[in-house]
Symmetry: none
Subunit: 418 residues, 2 copies
């Protein structure tokens, strides 16, 4: 059996050679391949030109053990991957009648008209195995050989599903090399430079695990990557460093892996059997959107109010008009009244209120863009924070919801909610 130690990834599509789009699928693929001990040695982006593409395929298949091609499997004239691989390998294309049937059925079910060009999605390189697509109509392909070649669709969900279901089981038994184990710690409430000043001295000179800090507004990630070494497993080596990190960072570590704050909070709410309602002004529904982005959210989320106008705050949340008049809509008093109002209207255990200035306009000297008040009401307790977020409108809005979720997380964690 051939061994797979080195892979190359080729992203296909002229749009990826414009200033408009970048390949991001390769990050996911690299992660999955690394976990099996397969290293990615080169990534290439090529356009829809068949000759160019065929040249890339034949060159790369001489260097690597596995070549992953993604994109160019659609139904249009620009989708030339099948043709190029056929040219590079000298094998002809054969239409797969089973997949033709599958495409026809799918169009019929959806009540859509099938165009002739859709059927080219069933053209297989002679000798290739068909990789079923459970989401779209483009069939994937797997060509065994000294360099195995996988043809995968470009849309991320189709690519991921197909890679996990069809490619991983084929690659795993052939994978050579030491698996790289990755662990991600997710942190909120600290700046990147402050996080680095806390944990830098721990990881600075480490070679295994290697630690990388990635930062985005409202969230910082520490990536730990390790291999088995000197009788210790990668997991063990990572655990040792993670413990040191957690001792420095405490509750600022809100999660691991790819779990976001809404996932963590939803788990807390479900396990405590508590319900939540929210009232938002400047975030315009983003907090509700995040809280309901998780399947099963009807188990804890009761309702949300996007009380953009003052009248909405008064009508729907019972915020006293005099409070708005005396303190202004952007004030801790109004945030508190919104939180309590949402909670009592919904008879929820927890109420959240957010009011602020998302910008870029609407700021004043005393109430600048980025000023956001957030209140969380639980039992007899109400907590309010005054925040000054930096960045554009979307970034301010996201950070405000991040902070609100974190306040809920901390209150649930502290046992305030019985």
């Amino acid at each position: 059996m051939n061994r797979i130690g080195v892979a190359e990834i080729v992203a296909i599509g002229s749009e990826l050679l414009t200033p408009l789009r970048n390949d991001t699928n390769s990050l996911y693929l690299t992660q999955k391949l690394n976990e099996l001990g397969v290293v990615v040695r080169r990534k290439t982006v090529v356009g829809d030109d068949v000759e160019d593409l065929a040249r890339v395929v034949s060159e790369a298949s001489q260097r690597a053990d596995l070549l992953i091609l993604m994109g160019g499997l659609g139904p249009t004239e620009d989708d030339r991957t099948r043709e190029a691989v056929s040219a590079a390998t000298g094998r002809k294309l054969v239409r797969d009648e089973g997949w033709v049937q599958w495409i026809c059925d799918r169009f019929a079910r959806a009540g859509r008209v099938l165009a002739e060009n859709n059927l080219q999605q069933a053209d297989l390189i002679d000798g290739a195995e068909l990789l079923p697509n459970t989401i779209g109509t483009a069939a994937g392909q797997w060509i065994a050989g000294p360099c195995a070649i996988a043809l995968l669709p470009g849309p991320p969900r189709e690519l991921r599903t197909m890679f996990e279901k069809e490619c991983l089981p084929r690659i795993r038994p052939m994978a050579a090399g030491t698996p790289i184990t990755t662990r991600i710690l997710r942190i909120t409430g600290l700046t990147e430079s402050f996080t680095d000043s806390l944990v830098g001295p721990i990881y600075r000179d480490l070679k295994n695990p290697v630690v990388t800090i990635l930062s985005s507004p409202g969230s910082i990630e520490l990536h730990l990557r390790a291999i088995d070494e000197g009788g210790r497993t990668a997991a063990d080596l990572i655990a040792g460093v993670e413990e040191l990190f957690r001792a420095k960072l405490g509750d600022h570590v809100y999660g691991t892996g790819d779990e976001n704050l809404e996932t963590v909070v939803s788990r807390q709410l479900l396990s405590l059997g508590k319900t939540i309602a929210c009232a938002e002004s400047c975030t315009g529904g983003l907090l509700a959107t995040r809280l309901t982005d998780i399947s099963g959210s009807s188990g804890y989320f009761l309702r949300g109010y996007v009380s953009y106008s003052n009248q909405a705050k008064i009508d729907d949340l019972g915020v006293p008009a005099c409070l708005v008049e005396s303190h202004g809509a952007v004030s801790s008093q109004v945030a508190e009244a919104m939180a309590s109002g949402a909670r009592s209207r919904a008879t929820a255990d927890i109420g959240v209120g957010i009011t602020g200035i998302a910008g870029p306009t609407g700021g004043t000297e005393t109430k600048p863009v980025g000023l956001v008040y957030i209140s969380v009401s639980v039992g007899e307790r109400i907590e309010t924070s005054e925040n000054r977020f930096m960045g554009g409108r979307s970034i301010v809005r996201f950070q405000a919801t991040q902070k609100a979720l974190d306040m809920v997380r901390m209150m649930l964690k502290s046992g305030v909610v019985e």
Copy 2:
């Protein structure tokens, strides 16, 4: 003088072959090159291996007129770009004494200790021109020839500054192609393959403009890229094809460039002086989030209700309990009552109601995952659509808001709202 028509971009650094980092510099470079008429034909990402890198350099310099290498110019052991280009071109490295002095001065000024390896940043390929770095200590390099080679630093600020100051003036007089003009048409309400069957016959054999279809759930983009040709300007050539496209696609073209549906709808609302309110169940606030993502949204958005529970629909929107009981929460009747309820509660000109099953759980035989009812209430009129969206939870939710925005757009366009 050599002419530059085709460029290749190579990003160098093993960290770019991990799951953590992606090359984004190339989008900036592509934009700048395209503006001069230089097309990018291939992008490659390679690690710190000298042999690999040297091979990429010699292969690419046989295909392209300009090769841009970025990264690997630092002072560490991993910075091997100079060495690799030296190997690929057969020219030796020569230390530039002027740049050595510059590095020394800079370290002295910053009170930092100079390590010997810092001086390798002054090693030039024999015959190369030095490109001064005004931000960091890595010198860039320009090697003239049938394929010009630029060595640029990887950090985005250093790269951009050096490219603009040093490379653009060198490339401009040699740029062979004509500047590329891009125009994007944005389409909704059609599938990718149906769009292609409509416009494919128009653009299939066109070379100028070149047309690319990009598809994502709920939105399709047609990218038209053209150059001046035969006495006609690129803009003129694009306008001709755009007219043919619009004749086929009609109102399905909702925007151009990077404007999304919420931007288009907000512009319509502001110009007509109309207000909107919405009531959402399965979309959980995403419609409100999108409508308020635009600065100035308080000019048209009054309020939103995320009526997740049945009680919320009854309390806040006045949906009759009997309607929910007899037709179920996911029904056209409830969607209509939600739209009317939101509108009258808020005294808005337009009310939108959305109810459905976002999945992945909660579907039944008669009401499957992806079934979403959307109502828009305006004046005496109420329009309701029954939709069956495919894809995961987030994609169903996004598509539902996309459809809702599009219904509002079409009703505003039709003049229903006076």
